[in-house]
């Protein structure tokens, strides 16, 4: 099912991205990748810590 609201949100995101210069978009890409990887590693650490807790 197509959501009109989801489509509008996607188009707004696309328009916001296109207002940046190509160089700014690549900088944003790098920052986004770093944040996502740090988030993933934090999740893994929490998962490992919770497994090591006594039940």
């Amino acid at each position: 099912m197509e959501s009109k609201l989801a489509l509008q949100a996607k188009l707004a995101l696309l328009a916001a991205t296109q207002r940046m210069s190509p160089e700014q978009r690549l900088d944003a890409f790098l920052m986004h990748c770093q944040l996502m990887m740090e988030l993933r590693l934090a999740g893994e650490r929490i998962h490992l810590a919770s497994r090591s807790l006594p039940s």
């Binding site: 991205t17 296109q18 190509p22 690549l26 990748c33 770093q34 944040l35 996502m36």
Partner: protein, 186 residues
């Protein structure tokens, strides 16, 4: 090496490009970095580029990268694989660069159509918009088609539709049909 931690595959790519430039190997950045330029910014574990390189030079290039301090792995595709080989580069933070050694269907002129984009003080060669969309349509899948659709929408009236259709046709009938669905869809 520029990378100082995780999530910096784009910086590892810059190191790789320095080697490619000194070896006079033509390249074009593709994948999520190109998607960030033509559509929406999305995260990716790796950074990708496609090379204009003969099969006989793959091993030499791998040796050059290894001598330059990269961790390398050269993976060869099957006979029916549209990608003949991938040279994978990694660093100690598990950042990863995939260098595609060719792509069946890609027009050789794609390297001449690549556009220059500044990134961290380096002039990167990025695959052209129409070549990018054609490749993404060919790649298919939810992500590939979403990237292609975003690039089409963002381009507005700037797309060279005749070029796009011609480039996509080179990847086969299924790719052409997918492109028409994207062009005519909501």
């Amino acid at each position: 090496m520029r990378s100082t931690g995780v999530g910096q595959s784009a910086l590892l790519l810059l190191d790789a490009i320095a080697v490619l430039t000194s070896e006079r190997v033509d390249y074009a950045v593709i994948g999520a970095m190109a998607a960030s330029i033509y559509g929406v910014v999305r995260a990716s574990i790796d950074a990708d580029a496609i090379l204009s390189l003969g099969a006989q030079k793959q091993s030499d290039l791998e040796r050059t990268f290894r001598a330059a301090g990269f961790q390398t792995a050269l993976r060869l595709g099957d006979a029916d694989d549209p990608i003949p080989a991938v040279l994978q580069l990694t660093d100690r933070f598990e950042n990863r660069v995939d260098l595609l050694v060719g792509l069946r269907g890609l027009e050789p002129d794609a390297f001449a159509r690549a556009v220059e984009v500044q990134f961290q003080g380096v002039a990167l060669r990025v695959i052209g918009r129409e070549d990018f969309i054609a490749m993404k349509v060919f790649a298919g899948g939810a992500e590939g088609l979403s990237d292609a659709k975003s690039a089409i929408t963002a381009a507005g009236g700037q797309l060279d539709l005749a070029l796009l259709r011609r480039l996509t046709q080179r990847f086969g009938r299924a790719a052409s049909d997918s492109l028409e669905r994207l062009l005519n869809g909501p």
